[in-house]
């Protein structure tokens, strides 16, 4: 259960280290330059990752009043 929280490291790798490997204009993805498309994709995935962490976090069941 606790280990799922480590998923939160992935967005940091993707958005801080990732750009070093994808800093290019082409190919366009859905009309966006590649670097921008990469960033947008990871923002969507970050939200998804946080949703997974939220759903599996016992703290949200025994919530404070």
């Amino acid at each position: 259960m606790h280990s799922i929280r480590w998923l939160a490291v992935i967005p940091f790798l993707a958005l801080i280290i990732g750009p070093f490997f994808v800093n290019r204009v082409t190919p366009f993805v859905l009309g966006l330059p590649f670097l921008l498309a990469w960033i947008v994709a990871w923002i969507l995935l970050t939200s998804l990752i946080m949703a997974v962490i939220y759903a599996n976090d016992p703290a949200n069941q025994e919530d404070e009043p």
Partner: protein
């Protein structure tokens, strides 16, 4: 009178009315006024947090950044997203501690955790020095927006006075409730207007996103990827990291954590705020669309790109709608900043000097300080020259210096001692000031490898801060009992 003005006036009036209505049914003691009685659900916390992020800087600066510099603007998308990830883990313990100890401000948090009123004063001073220029930035943006969107019918000076008066009035009456209500209006408008502009303009001028970026790539090759030097990958990554850490150390953002009813509201927002961050993408689309359509803006004028392109494309009434949205993006964060600064002065400076003051007196003083803070900011907006610009650049780096002491204090056993935390913050802030005022950056040290030269100089201040914190903590740890014992 022109077609745009009624909309801009309506925005100011709407903010005023909502701001006053927000008070209804509440006894405005300090806890209600400054942290909403700690009773806000996920939606209000969401608009408060979003309200502080989507400021005039986002509206004007975000589009201007994309217009003038291209890909380096992407960093704004990234750092917010990462800050929300951090927030999932960092905000609930802060919230819980604040609720247990009935804290009102960020400075209170440090006072309690480190059992040190002196540290509280230092934090309050750092906060205020960072907040006032941030408020000035909002007022400046407001003046620009009204002057341009109103086609010059109202001068920026008049707009700034009116805007400051409106915000000060409703903040005095309703406090954070006023901010939350107006933030709902603002976020609805900005969502609709920015998404519309971000889709309509590229389609109208280029026939779509792909054709737009193709045209930009032909006219300015490499504009939409990071350049090899200057604002390069190294600059990008170091800046994203630094600004993500500093995000929640802004005192008005920090205080809005306290307004939450429960910790799960904060966690829930960590899921949704990254998506909301995508509004910035549409702001960038506007900036990119403007690059080839209204070329030639340079220097600080790049911030006008969004309005220049809107004025070129739309009828005055719609420019008025865009202007009205822009006005709200200045007023809402402005209200949070005024309230936070007034609370810090009353609760953390005045109360330290005069400990016998009760909550009622502090609350009254805080409300009376709101117009004073507003006046100071208006003065700097109208008269401030180079100094205020320098302060603006320093603000973010200043508040980032609170991060190490803050994060360590959340651990079960706090490694940092009172002396260590204090010395670290002072060393960090002094480094920021020295570096900024002398205009130093890694580029002035030509013997460094080019990758290091591109790093954000803020890294140095944070490193100095951290090293001093560790050294002083180790030195004082043996001499005295750890501060964590007293704090817990």
């Amino acid at each position: 009178m022109n077609g745009a003005l009624p909309f801009i006036a309506a925005a100011a009036l709407l903010a005023l009315v909502l701001g006053f209505l927000a008070r209804r049914g509440k006894d405005m003691n300090l806890e209600q006024w400054t942290v909403g009685g700690r009773g806000f659900g996920a939606l209000f916390v969401f608009v408060l947090l979003a309200g502080e992020i989507y400021t005039t800087f986002t509206f004007l600066g975000g589009s201007g950044f994309a217009y003038g510099k291209g890909a380096p603007a992407y960093y704004i998308l990234c750092y917010g997203t990462l800050a929300y990830v951090i927030s999932y883990f960092m905000l609930p313990p802060i919230w819980r501690y604040a609720k247990e100890h009935r804290l009102y401000s960020q400075s209170d948090f440090f006072v309690r955790k480190y059992d040190s009123p002196a540290l509280g004063v230092i934090v309050a001073l750092v906060d205020i020095v960072a907040l006032i220029p941030y408020l000035v930035l909002q007022f400046k943006g407001l003046g620009i927006i009204v002057e341009i969107a109103g086609y010059g019918a109202i001068s920026s000076t008049v707009a700034i006075w009116i805007g400051a008066a409106v915000v000060a009035a409703y903040v005095m009456v309703s406090g954070v409730h006023g901010s939350a209500w107006t933030a709902v209006a603002k976020d609805t408008m900005i969502l609709v207007v920015v998404v519309f502009l971000g889709i309509y303009l590229p389609v109208h001028f280029y026939g779509g996103f792909g054709p737009m970026f193709t045209a930009i790539e032909q006219a300015k090759p490499g504009f939409t990827a990071l350049p090899p030097h200057g604002e390069s990958l190294w600059w990008f990554s170091s800046t994203v990291l630094l600004t993500a850490l500093g995000f929640y150390t802004w005192p008005h953002t920090f205080a809005s954590i306290y307004t939450a009813k429960g910790a799960s509201a904060l966690r829930k927002n960590a899921v949704f705020l990254p998506l909301y961050q995508l509004i910035l993408l549409f702001v960038f689309f506007v900036g990119f669309a403007a690059t080839l359509q209204v070329p030639g803006l340079t220097g600080s004028n790049i911030d006008l790109a969004l309005f220049k392109l809107s004025a070129k494309t739309f009828d005055p009434w719609f420019v008025g709608v865009v202007g009205a949205t822009g006005v709200l993006t200045a007023l809402v964060p402005g209200s949070m900043i005024m309230m936070t600064a007034a609370t810090l002065i009353a609760n953390n400076l005045y109360r330290t000097v005069n400990p016998s003051a009760d909550d009622r007196q502090v609350s009254l003083l805080a409300k009376l300080l709101v117009p004073v803070v507003a006046l100071v900011a208006v003065f700097f907006t109208l008269k401030g020259g180079e100094t205020i610009v320098a302060l603006l650049l320093m603000g973010y780096s200043f508040v980032t210096q609170l991060f190490p002491a803050l994060v360590l204090s959340l651990a079960r056993r706090n490694f940092a001692t009172r002396e260590g935390a204090t010395a670290g913050i002072i060393a960090g802030v002094a480094t920021v000031a020295a570096v900024s005022l002398t205009g130093t950056n890694f580029h002035t040290l030509p013997w460094l490898p080019p990758q290091i030269q591109d790093l954000n100089i803020g890294i140095v201040a944070l490193a100095v801060n951290f090293v001093v914190l560790i050294v002083v903590s180790l030195a004082t740890r043996r001499a005295t009992a750890p501060a964590s014992a007293a704090a817990e």
